[in-house]
Symmetry: C2
Subunit: 375 residues, 2 copies
């Protein structure tokens, strides 16, 4: 029996659960609260920043992995020092936790990045704006997700609150040029401790207000899928990543790819793989952290699209509208994360497989409208 | 929130669980014992022949359904009389529980059956052998599964033990001609209370020692798939079935189909649908009993094969051999039912999708050999 412990009880842990049931892998989830999305697999509820709780949890499984990237690496280093397995390990995870460290390391690896620099005062920001402006991107190196901790800035005054608490934010801000991209892509890759790699088809992602709204797999041509693959594999090897990793990429007008963000876990851009690929990213993550052979990443249809279901208000929990939504198309796949309703929250997603992305998106959005109770 | 209660904690309940997680349907399982295959979804452990326990369980869900067909229909009728929903209902389920009643009802519906008759003494059996012999099939109408309660008989002496306890067996035995079939098929269909039907591709099944060993979807041509579909749909409508139903069929040398057995639940012949069809039989069963629109039954590949993993001894729990087995082919899908090891027990299965059934079977059997620790 293989035992995997996941820290964090969000929808990623939730979606690992069916893969664990199929394979007969014992899944334990360390959730933050009683009513987590992954509550059905939760074996412990507590505080993952408390080393004693982490340690107690880690000792009940063969390997610890993550639903999110927020566990302090110092605690993970302690676990490793005790001989407990943590994948991805703290020496890898630090680059997903700290965007400034990530930029430095990827620059060392010679990978394509936006122009970037760290800054800790207004003058440095103004200088960067003078070169790369009129608008630049400023990020807090730690703690951001889904658009939080990221601002488009044309004046250092716009981040004066961050500068005021710069020590709390790690002592520096990350400045990046605002890449003139034509679209966003994501490249998923899995790596196991033996060093095997399994790379998925590059996908196109569509963000709305900093949140993933749609994914199209594979990314419509033309796309430099070879470059995307090489970038992701070089990062996975260079950062010694174990498990699933997503590389978010900008595609520029001339077709070049530039690295935006990294995630060292299953990722929203890979939800299509549950039905759309021979091995879902969730099964793949389990295989990878257990050092099992990795599964095929082949697509099971010419195209797969995923549409996120974002909360519309505090009442609509979506599943009550299945009757109407499922009538839109009998082949649509519905996923609920069983979260309490809240405007803007990632509540679930819909996946469609078929031949033509445009048709699939139309169906998925029709079903989403029914779920939102708008038709 | 939709709440479904499953009576029985076997592998079918286990495989309903991932579908419930995906859809955000609350699944409750009434298991017979602590360490059931579906233990992760078990909310009650007890005796399903105790009405009070059944009733208590049924009141916590919107609809009760089944992992097996052993719940006494009298108890289900009581639940219905209290206004609790049970699908399939007792008036349908009785035909899956009692093979003699099933033969009578299907004969009334004018469906193709082997020559059959009920008998309660040796003389009637001898007379049936004289007409349909030298060998006939004798079945106990109730309680048989996986080849138990079925004998090939050329002399009534061979069932003298059953005749001695005929009252305990329901007062009669079912006699059937031994159909000279060339292969066995299975036809899956789902029906919801609104009367919608969703019919899967007819599949070929290969039995070994009365236990399903392999399934090939779709059944290799030539096959009278229209007849298979009509038979299954007429039974589903005629018996007012709600949920998944499997019709096991014999195909004779001239291509005719004859009904062997019925199962009113997800069925071993449909396990391929987890990865191989747009809607798995487990998701379909949930949709059906909740009276949601039924999902597409389309195959996601030209062919899907499933190979059952039967226990080889009391030690090999299979998952310890994943490393070797997964190397056989990266696209194979492994399923463990997390049962304690025992020779001959259904412990799991392997599914392969692709173009050519013969190649897929070869891969699946190679992986099975690795799982059995024979290579």
């Amino acid at each position: 029996m293989h035992r995997v412990g996941v820290i964090g009880g969000g929808q990623l842990a939730r979606m690992i659960h069916p893969a664990a049931i199929a394979l007969g892998i014992e899944l334990k989830v360390f959730a933050e609260q009683e009513h987590s999305s992954a509550h059905q697999a939760a074996t412990k509820i507590g505080d993952y920043t408390d080393y004693r709780q982490l340690q107690e949890f880690a000792k009940t499984v063969d390997v610890v992995t993550f639903d999110h990237e927020h566990v302090p690496v110092a605690l993970l280093e302690q676990l490793e020092a005790e001989g407990l397995k943590v994948y991805p390990g703290p020496k890898s995870l630090i680059f997903a936790q700290n965007k400034a460290l990530m930029r430095r390391r990827l620059a060392e690896l010679g990978l394509p990045l936006p122009a970037w620099q760290t800054a800790s005062d207004a003058a440095a920001i103004e200088a960067f704006i003078a070169i790369h402006g009129p608008e630049i991107i400023v990020k807090t190196p730690v703690g951001g997700y889904d658009g939080k901790g990221v601002r488009v800035v044309s004046d250092s005054q716009q981040v004066s609150d961050w500068l005021d608490q710069i020590e709390k934010l790690g002592g520096e801000l990350l400045l990046e040029e605002k890449v003139p991209f034509v679209r966003e892509l994501a490249q998923l890759v899995a790596r196991n401790p033996s060093g095997d790699l399994a790379t998925y088809e590059v996908v196109q992602t569509v963000q709305k207000n900093g949140v993933c709204a749609e994914v199209i797999a594979p990314a419509p041509k033309p796309v430099d899928s070879i470059a995307a693959r090489i970038i992701a594999e070089e990062i996975a090897v260079g950062l010694n990543v174990v498990g699933m990793m997503a590389v978010e990429l900008f595609e520029t007008a001339d077709g070049h790819l530039v690295i935006n963000e990294l995630a060292m876990r299953p990722h929203n851009s890979g939800h299509y793989s549950i039905e759309g690929a021979a091995t879902s990213q969730f099964e793949q993550h389990l295989r990878a952290v257990l050092d099992l052979p990795l599964g095929s990443t082949e697509l099971l249809a010419p195209a797969a699209v995923m549409v996120n279901l974002l909360g519309v208000d505090d009442r609509n929990t979506f599943t009550e509208h299945y009757n109407k939504a499922m009538r839109v198309d009998a082949a649509l796949k519905f996923h609920s994360y069983e979260k309490s309703a809240r405007g803007g929250r990632k509540m679930g997603h819909i996946t469609a497989l078929g031949d033509h992305p445009a048709e699939l998106l139309k169906k998925a959005h029709s079903a989403a409208a029914a779920i939102y109770n708008q038709i």
